[in-house]
């Protein structure tokens, strides 16, 4: 950008000097974003469904006014057990890796922001309003997402409604933009070269280009290298294993918080959510309710019930996940049987001792309760759960988002609540 004559305003076509800009560069970046953002949107919708927001009572629902936007909701499955680990790892890692593509795309079309007159016609005016929603929406979604995974809750309100409704606002403008621009994009990709500035109806080709300081291939290489670097510095927190060590800047990369069987990643520590040691000591009792019956069990009594093992990961909405951990404890359906609901266990409300946190009350659907791998876990990797991983007892369910694997469980209510 910039001009030799400092008085040239950005509204003048000769203000924009980069010889890189043109329909071909914009089209190429646009196609990458079309594929990437579509995948982001789909994995985002899947994550929303994974919370089972339409479960009876709406305890998991942070967007009760969603109306028709929840039209596609379905029972989130428990197979494969790494499903949420995959979809949410892709959502967050891809979002991070798309940042340079998005910035490059916006750079490639910046002269259009200053086009005069601001609107040639009512149709053009509508389109420019739509473009504000497109650019504002894209940046809003990227910024809220990127802040949230770094536990920086600066945004105005709760993350769930902002990111969810923001995505729908954005996607409306995105779909219109794609339909309007696909013909020109396809043409640009077919052409060998950009047209000259005089013949360029897109207004992207510089009228008085500066000599190039980099080839277009070089510029695209830089954007790609940025994407790759962000991917390498992030993906390990989802892939796990020794790759976690490569995710040097990711919030749950670098290393694990401890060693031994309890040394895997922690979402929120016991101290952070207000768990006091006197609440989890020998006086702790689990209350199991349902079908008009109530049972209270100590940890020792739970350990005397049939113990089962399941190798399952923790996968967080923030995109990070752990490798499969070897959990052991009591099957949820066996606990349902204690109150006479063992035949066809219903939905389950889980309550935690924790004082803070949006999901200290969370619901599981009947398909999750009935899965033989769904446990009230008491031990992990052959030892007792640590305080930070939910001692005395926690939920672990295959393929469920991390926050539904409630820690420090105090009460289970089967059926109506």
């Amino acid at each position: 950008m910039g001009a030799h004559n400092p008085l040239t305003p950005p509204t003048s076509p000769s203000f924009w000097r980069s010889p890189l800009r043109g329909p071909r560069l914009t089209a190429l970046l646009g196609m990458v974003l079309l594929a990437g953002i579509t995948l982001l949107f789909v994995t985002g919708l899947l994550s929303y469904a994974a919370y089972n927001p339409n479960l009876a009572g709406g305890v998991n629902d942070k967007t009760p006014g969603k109306g028709l936007l929840g039209f596609y909701l379905f029972s989130w499955p428990t197979d494969p057990h790494w499903l949420y680990r995959l979809t949410q790892g892709v959502h967050v890692t891809l979002g991070i890796a798309l940042v340079p593509i998005l910035l490059a795309k916006l750079w490639s079309v910046i002269p259009k922001l200053f086009t005069l007159p601001p609107a040639r016609s009512p149709g053009h005016a509508l389109e420019r309003v739509s473009l504000l929603l497109l650019v504002g929406g894209a940046l809003f979604e990227f910024v809220t997402g990127i802040l949230n995974i770094q536990l920086e809750y600066l945004f105005p309100g709760s993350f769930y409604p902002l990111h969810f409704y923001g995505a729908w606002v954005f996607i409306g403008a995105f779909a219109a933009h794609v339909v309007l621009r696909v013909p020109r994009t396809v043409r640009a990709l077919r052409e060998r070269e950009d047209p000259g500035a005089a013949a360029d109806e897109t207004g992207l080709v510089a009228a008085r280009p500066d000599p190039p300081t980099v080839t277009r291939r070089g510029a695209l290489g830089l954007v790609g290298a940025g994407s790759l670097l962000l991917f390498v510095a992030t993906a390990g927190q989802s892939i796990g294993g020794r790759w976690r060590g490569t995710a040097l800047l990711a919030p749950h990369g670098g290393r694990d918080p401890g060693s031994g069987p309890n040394g895997f990643q922690i979402n929120k520590t016991a101290a952070y959510v207000g768990i006091r040691s006197q609440d989890t000591g020998d006086d702790w009792r689990l209350t199991v309710e349902g079908g008009g019956r109530r049972v209270r069990l100590s940890r020792a009594e739970l350990l005397r019930l049939p113990q089962h093992e399941a190798a399952l990961p923790i996968a967080c909405v923030e995109g990070w996940s752990t490798d499969d951990q070897r959990w052991s404890g009591v099957r949820l359906r066996d606990l349902a049987a204690l109150v006479g609901l063992g035949e066809r266990p219903p939905d389950l409300l889980v309550e935690s001792l924790q004082l803070h946190g949006a999901f200290r009350r969370a619901a599981l659907r009947d398909n999750q309760v009935r899965d033989p791998r769904s446990l009230l876990a008491l031990r992990v990797g052959g030892v007792d759960l640590s305080a930070d991983h939910g001692y005395p007892a926690r939920i672990i369910v295959p393929a469920a988002p991390g926050v539904l694997n409630t820690k420090w469980v105090s009460r289970l209510t089967f059926g109506e609540w």
């Binding site: 950008m1 969603k66 009512p122 650019v135 940046l139 105005p156 923001g166 403008a173 800047l249 979402n267």
Partner: protein, 185 residues
């Protein structure tokens, strides 16, 4: 068959024909209306919380901040680098050797700014540590080391190029060539 197809294309063209008053085709208007209807449906829900003025500020502000602050800043910085590293009669331009590591390092800083900047103060790092059980002060150091690595690789690359292109037997020019990487420090 071909004629029917051509007829269909012609009809589609007519449907897309620019309207005198609206300035675009009728399909454009329908698309805009459909898009705004969805945006409106989601938008009233986005703004339903008590903080709706701030949500608008964030939504519009993100676009303005990017278009009018971030982009001009990095473009001006790039211009300065390109000017400073431009080629002269004595040596070729070495812009890429500064631009690439600087852009990559800046990108990492932009995306992970909360964690990196939080490493310095005690508040954000303590909050992160309390929540995750991981050390919160490590990110600034890691980012600086990655940045150092990027510039070091770039310097080695420039050195390699310089050594490779040295004309054989030109002692005086060899001395000048050796000074080139130093100018980039």
């Amino acid at each position: 068959m071909r004629a029917a197809w051509r007829d269909r294309v012609a009809r589609a063209r007519r449907a897309l024909r620019v309207h005198r008053w609206y300035g675009e085709g009728p399909l454009h208007l329908l698309l805009m209306l459909a898009s705004f209807a969805l945006t409106g449906y989601a938008g009233v829900r986005l703004l339903a919380g008590g903080q709706w003025p701030l949500v608008i500020v964030w939504f519009v502000g993100a676009a303005l901040l990017h278009d009018l602050v971030l982009l001009p800043l990095y473009a001006l910085a790039d211009r300065a680098v390109a000017g400073y590293t431009a080629g002269t009669g004595r040596h070729r331009a070495w812009t890429a050797y500064v631009r690439v590591p600087a852009a990559l390092s800046g990108l990492l800083l932009l995306v992970w700014f909360p964690l990196i900047a939080g490493s310095v103060g005690s508040g954000a790092a303590a909050h992160y540590e309390a929540a995750t059980g991981l050390p919160g002060g490590v990110f600034l150091g890691r980012w600086l080391l990655i940045t150092a690595g990027l510039f070091a690789v770039s310097a080695l690359w420039l050195l390699g190029r310089t050594v490779q292109q040295r004309p054989p037997g030109a002692a005086r020019r060899r001395r000048e060539t050796k000074q080139r990487p130093a100018a980039g420090d």
